[in-house]
Symmetry: C2
Subunit: 472 residues, 2 copies
């Protein structure tokens, strides 16, 4: 039986091919120099030739062909130039969404309902509705707005009008119109870099330095001992310690905490995992104190961990109040199930575009493709195989590969290396040997291959990693 | 000589055609009812059939054909199903931008530089660079970030590292890492509805109620007497009064004011205009106090007022520090000219996508089309004609049409009516008589036809407006 990649990317290369001495090579360097006149290229790894990239392989301006295990910061799940998505991109619906981009709140098109239903069809268990945004950060800020509207409307009486005092004070950015409400996020969390989301983000100083911030509380996210097997007792204590900190914030924070926001796996912050007991504990605390639970699936959502929505593996009961998404979905927004999270008045959760139908159309098409072609069982199998091979590598190089994590979570894996400097060296050498990878946290190496990554790609990845590590 | 609409929309109807007794009619009502199961339809005017809409005419699900003088809240400038934009939408570049959406900061494509240059080519006078975002609110928040980074970096020394105290405090959302800096915006301003932008927005309570806000200062935006001719003296005094308030805030606000943000014409807030003396006065004050001047051209930009960038008519000297854009551009972001507004370190102004190449590609194509087809001189002529006809109507119905404004600013016009109730009635009757229109401020009627609106469309609009007003 052929894999998805074999079937739909018949021209995918048999392996990486590096043709220049450095990456970027001469053409890439010249292109970066020229691009730097009009764009900040200090973060540019290389210039990509998307017309030549295919499936799991990304091709740069010099013709270097790299196996991609980073995939646009976990945002391309279906492989480059996926032929089934190209069909959607060329459809009349897409052309219209491009040239006649609607203000969806006022003038939704006749085909918009179908687009929304295609997305909701694959919503997390328990979620009935969706609201669209434009990026992961935007999705989280819109979710916060829904929470704050709900919190204050509940307090005021859902059918009661704003008070005159609220109407006056809000125009001066003062309470009671603009209340002092807080949202709790975790140390090492990443939820975006707009102003409210930067207030939630706690990954590193650079992500939020110099921005005015809301004074909101934080609690520690569990830091587990690896391997998980054999460390059950100490990790259980860690859950309890962190949950106690959360409860302490609810008891002692100066202003009401309207919500807790958490990633199923803290990604940017270092691929930090937690378990069912922790997430259920959070759910219980939020219920106890009348707060909402927002699960940020921006990086984990849409299949990357081997299931559509990573938090579903924990069977959180009742389900989270809001689940945000972006990245692999191409579109962004939040799912929810409580109709009271639709604001009590029109034009509260509103803006000109209310989402981008081009991206919403892609979301539906991507989720349909994942589910109809049954990509996730194969990805889970590939993930277990990949993990076992990395485990072998960890045994070979115990001083280099540490805290391997992500077992049973598709190919959503990471490990630590001895230092940031060693990591930079490792990633650069992996690239010049044909593998594109990313980092996370202080010393993490982040694996984010697409959903079309197969065992044969693992068998290409592992020998290169072995060779590179041995050379360090 | 044929107009743009005649040339490129040969199938544009000769006038509106309303076939149902209400808008929405039976099909539209059924579609809204069904859509409301998955989307908040309380703001839906009607369900649109974009496949049948063409040029200046929008067609609804019931087959009603309306002359569109609102154009997706001023966001569709080039007419529905513009054939020259359809070509771009079907291009290979676009297809790749859809299926291989890049993380532009890390992996820009080989064609990205050309896209950026196509946009910068039509930047406001004095602006050399662009940074991309995803909506008008996003553009403004990114501009604020650029300002805050610049402000603190300048204070710290551009090449100096963050201090240990800053690195510790920022992880707790406290100064000095998260400083108490402010941005001044004006009464009746609208800059978006994310959290920092909602703090800037002062249009109405509903736009920001119940959201935690930054305590930032506001000053009054001029409220001119109309007609401008004959009221020069009183309006000059109004400028001086408002500028004195701005200066007072700089002198007396508790925290430093890092920037002033202002719209060339306050749109959502009521189509409030100001003049060269006011804008130059703002520039002078910001220079005096070391603050940046951000011009929000989200609604005015890209040709709507008869010139590409409305603030250019005031010849502000030196030019504003940042100019934000969105809507008609399809893409969003800010233009700037000071290289020090590029943050001193990489990964500060950064996110996964760094803009959406589909929309950036459209921006360039739209601006090229406007300029190469020389749309703006025709639009200016149409605008003057439209204004003169509305002036006649104002003379006929002085009790209904008040404060007609926007002369010489393309078709970017508005007038006031006696009450919000009368306005609702007027807009509904205009629609059932074949014209789609919007509102602004408390009692404003907002005209936002596209850039392809011609005299023949004015000649359709005016008799319908006359008939409707006479019937009220």
């Amino acid at each position: 039986m052929s894999t998805y990649a074999e079937k739909y990317f018949p021209e995918e290369p048999s392996g990486p091919k590096v043709v220049t001495e450095t990456i970027p090579g001469p053409k890439g360097k010249a292109a970066i120099k020229s691009l730097s006149e009009v764009f900040d290229t200090r973060c540019t790894f290389f210039i990509t030739d998307y017309s030549k990239s295919i499936g799991n392989y990304i091709v740069d301006a010099d013709g270097n062909v790299l196996l991609d295990a980073y995939c646009q910061v976990a945002s391309i799940g279906m492989g480059y130039n996926n032929p089934n998505l190209i069909k959607v991109a060329k459809s009349d619906k897409m052309v219209r969404a491009i040239v006649d981009r609607p203000a969806l709140g006022n003038f939704a098109g006749v085909d918009y309902e179908e687009m929304q239903r295609d997305v909701i069809k694959y919503a997390p268990k328990g979620q009935k509705y969706v609201w669209n945004g434009l990026s992961g950060a935007d999705a989280n800020e819109l979710a916060l707005k829904a929470v704050f509207f709900n919190y204050q409307s509940t307090k005021r009486g859902f059918d009661n009008p704003f008070t005159p005092e609220e109407e006056v004070s809000v125009m001066q950015n003062l309470p009671p119109g603009n209340p002092e409400l807080a949202v709790l996020s975790f140390t090492r969390a990443f939820h975006g870099r707009l102003f409210a989301t930067a207030s939630l983000t706690r990954s590193k100083p650079l992500h939020k330095m110099d921005m005015p911030a809301f004074h909101w509380p934080t609690a520690e996210f569990p830091g587990y001992k690896y391997p998980l097997e054999g460390n059950e007792e100490v990790n259980k204590k860690e859950d309890e310690r962190c949950l106690a900190l959360v409860e302490d914030r609810f008891k002692n924070w100066g202003s009401p905490i309207a919500a807790v926001i958490v990633e199923p796996i803290q990604s940017e912050g270092g691929d930090n995992h937690a378990d069912a007991a922790f997430f259920q504990g959070l759910r219980d605390i939020t219920l106890k104190y009348g707060a909402k639970l927002i699960i940020d699936e921006v990086q984990t959502g849409c299949g990357g961990t081997g299931i559509m929505w990573d938090h579903e593996r924990y069977n959180i009961t009742p389900p989270p109040d809001l689940v945000t998404f972006s990245k692999k979905m191409q579109s962004s927004g939040y799912f929810f199930h409580d109709p009271k999270l639709v604001p009590n008045l029109p034009y509260r959760q509103f803006n000109t575009w209310c989402g981008d139908p081009k991206n919403i159309l892609m979301s539906g098409a991507i989720m349909k493709e994942i589910n109809e072609k049954d990509l996730l069982p194969a990805l889970r199998e590939t993930g277990l195989y990949f993990y076992s091979k990395l485990e072998e590598l960890q045994k070979e190089f115990p001083g280099f590969i540490r805290n391997l994590r992500g077992k049973g979570k598709g190919c959503f894996m990471a490990f630590d290396v001895p230092s940031p400097e060693k990591r930079a060296e490792f990633l650069a050498k992996m690239r010049i040997n044909g593998v594109n990878l990313g980092d996370c946290g202080e010393v993490g190496v982040r694996l984010r291959p697409g959903l079309v990554f197969g065992k044969k790609h693992v068998d290409i990845f592992i020998p290169i990693a072995r060779k590179v590590i041995a050379s360090l």
